[in-house]
Assembly symmetry: C2
Homo-oligomer: 475 residues x 2
């Protein structure tokens, strides 16, 4: 049978089964956007022919990584908000209010490039202006599961004193809901099916009950999922208790929000009982190890959630306060932060991190029928990783194989040489094929200079810890 | 005045002063192995001429990173010991006993390459066979502060039941001490002065009092420092209490060991009082965030140590149980693990991590007269980092600069383009100049295959958690 290309003689991590599904001297055959077959090289090479045969000797072939939670629209502020208190109010707002859509779009593209270069093939992007951001994914050939952020907060919310109840603007809420519907109607299943849409209420504290229920009804109507921050910080819990006399999770449960349509992001402030409840109701949890570590100095209850039988995934969140969007970073932090949380070196082993960035993540975001593992009939989202890199060397295979621990604990991301998405070569031997990296960086730099000129006064007025560090010579 | 080369129009992080000493549009002039001048480009370019003028536009120029604690002799086992209990006994020993000097040397070279590529210019390497390993540093042109490991443990120590008191073999101890003296006599101040030697007792639990005192006397005689694990694990404390009825730190204090000659590595098990005592006595602390996170699931008391006024540095430790030797990894983990330990996002800001990998580290290891900052008269150990990388983009300069946070939290290490050590270009535009990377990797791979063949029986007999994972399909 004829394939478009075959990669053979590689270590193939299929991620099928309960473990990592390793095939030594394995091969994969691809036709169009589909995986034809995966298995031992001898079997694949005898059953398939291809015009292009890629020698996988010294390489690892694995499924593309999934970033289950990212806000690329904030990327333009990379490095502007960390090591500080009042992250959102003093860190982000002074920049956000001085940034237009065009500026934000340039940052978004740079982060997508950053992700691709570290093996991310599916981005669950969740942001304002998604109707514009989504074009990046269409043009670069990347897979994305996108949501427009929905809330009812006025644009000047950043000026509200800390602790005051947020005012809701239902007209704005409706406008954002309409943007979400437009996103769905325009982009769902576009880009040869690579683009799929979700609904993205920003948080139960940032919109009224009526709008939350409208979103829920729409998610059912369109038969899709809801990507939502849940119990993401003490700020949120405080708002919920002040407004409703209830914490977020019991509130959402009463509203019928906790079900398998929900991708609950963070759960930072969830109690053990609440965490178990979210798992029991069948909602998935998205865990952002790096960003919550930096922004809050906390480790969310991912271990409890998994122990309760919940379905979880890893995400990189936003660049101002992580400050990278690299799933290798997330895999490593997820493992080590949880070892430290439990004071147990056996906690959160490497294979678990890897599953939570591949097959488990695909299940958690509802795309496991297409991606997350290398299996006949799934979409061809494939990485080729150079095992002859100093960080992954040497390779032991017997009686213990060291590839997975080194991938999670030692790889930096740049060991990914080739990125294939939907059967197309998006990066080949470390060179991006579908996007001009230098131009993207130049445009983001120009945007940063515009934002810098406009935001000076607001940043000085906010006088954040970071601004003080700058004044003191620490930046 | 004539320089050999000038790098101009760069962001220059001098690391002088209490902060990061940033010079925008800065330049550095180098002659021989020495920094002639650092300052604004206009000043440097008017005062100096050079045959080679490097355009630093879009680049960051900074001091080379210092890895204050690394065992490169263990690198050949990268990825073989993590996510497990009994790390040393079941993880390392079955491999160590089946590995000869030649095998270990191949792994050492790969790790040195890994380090250089991520900007490490000084390696405090501490291992057995240092008389051989040191040749790598001499040949590659890297700076190293080396110690031969001294203990009195018999070679079959790995077979001792967990909890039994280690037997001491004074003949072996003396032999290792002689190796240390030979190291000093042969290599100290060699490689144009890049190689300096320390004494390296492995731990107070691994040798008798007499040998400890001999080492101390030698360090004084040679006027050098002692690189030593101190309170590195509950295993050590247990041995000390069983043997002497005292915990490590009070024991060492009575012995007169706690002074400014001591580089105390880990302090994992030090109480707050003990940590303060080490700081008060003027010993420095080497903190290995990644390795202790993986091996022990713990965060050593680095914050307490710094608050007590102690002098500290970061180190990457060994590849089997970190699993990388990349100071960017250490800087990021140091910051985030301590934020989480204190539940405080303001704890351990980016600039602190950067100082602990540069100038503070130089002070902690006793080389600040030569390295750690960019200053007239210091040795030219310099990195050129490409700021036009997706991970470091965009660059904001006003009113807040984001370079340092992105360097610590976003950079992976591969943004380092050029590495200059002692005035020599060791890596240029990501290409290593003095060592053949492919050959080094090939040789380490061959060594791993030899070790694999020899160690099978012992690994199966040890039946570690990692071996069980392999059997269960998780590796």
């Amino acid at each position: 049978m004829k394939a478009d290309f075959i990669i053979a003689h590689a270590f193939v991590l299929t991620m099928e089964g309960k473990g990592v599904g390793m095939v030594q001297n394995g091969a994969i055959a691809v036709k169009g956007n589909m995986i034809l077959a995966v298995g031992p090289s001898a079997d694949i090479l005898s059953a398939y022919q291809a015009d292009r045969l890629i020698d996988g000797t010294g390489k690892l072939v694995m499924p593309g990584l999934i970033d289950a939670h990212i806000h690329t629209g904030l990327s333009i502020f990379r490095g502007m908000a960390q090591d500080m208190s009042h992250w959102m109010q003093k860190g982000l707002w002074p920049f956000i209010k001085n940034t237009d859509k065009k500026d934000a779009l340039t940052g978004s593209l740079v982060t997508i490039i950053e992700g691709i270069k570290a093996g991310t093939t599916t981005f669950c992007d969740y942001d304002h202006n998604m109707n514009d951001i989504v074009s990046h994914y269409v043009k670069t050939g990347v897979r994305a599961r996108v949501a427009e952020t929905i809330n009812e907060l006025p644009d000047d919310i950043g000026t509200l004193p800390v602790g005051d109840l947020y005012p809701f603007d239902t007209a704005l809420g409706n406008q954002r809901l309409q943007e979400s519907i437009r996103l769905f109607e325009t982009w769902h299943e576009q880009g040869d099916g690579r683009i799929t849409c979700l609904f993205g209420p920003q948080g139960a504290d940032m919109m009224g009950t009526e709008l939350l229920l409208e979103v829920k009804a729409l998610a059912e109507k369109y038969d899709t999922r809801i990507h939502m921050h849940v119990a993401q910080g003490d700020r949120e819990i405080d708002q919920m208790v002040k407004r409703y006399g209830k914490r977020t999770i019991p509130f959402l449960d009463e509203l019928g929000y906790l079900d398998s349509r929900l991708m609950a992001v963070h759960l930072t402030e969830a109690t053990k009982d609440e965490t178990y409840l979210v798992a029991k109701r069948g909602a998935s949890m998205i865990y952002c190890a790096g960003s919550i570590g930096i922004i809050d100095g906390l480790v969310p209850p991912i271990m409890d959630f998994l122990e309760a039988g919940g379905q979880a995934a890893l995400g990189s969140d936003q660049a101002p306060g992580n400050n990278c969007n690299n799933m290798f970073n997330e895999m490593k932090f997820a493992a080590i932060l949880n070892k430290v949380k439990r004071s147990d070196p056996k906690a959160f082993p490497a294979w678990l991190s890897l599953r939570l960035a591949t097959i488990e993540s695909a299940i958690a975001i509802g795309l496991d029928h297409e991606i997350g593992s290398l299996k006949k009939g799934k979409k061809a989202d494939i990485l080729i990783v150079n095992l002859e890199s100093p960080t992954l060397c040497p390779v032991f295979t017997d009686p213990i194989r060291n590839i997975v621990p080194n991938l999670v604990y030692s790889a930096r991301g740049h060991e990914v040489e080739t990125v294939i998405i939907d059967g197309q070569f998006i990066m080949e031997e470390n060179q991006l094929v579908t996007v001009n990296e230098k131009e993207a960086i130049r445009e983001a730099q120009q945007a940063a200079e515009r934002i810098s000129r406009r935001s000076g006064q607001d940043i000085m007025a906010a006088h954040s810890d970071v601004y003080q560090m700058m004044k003191d010579g620490y930046l």
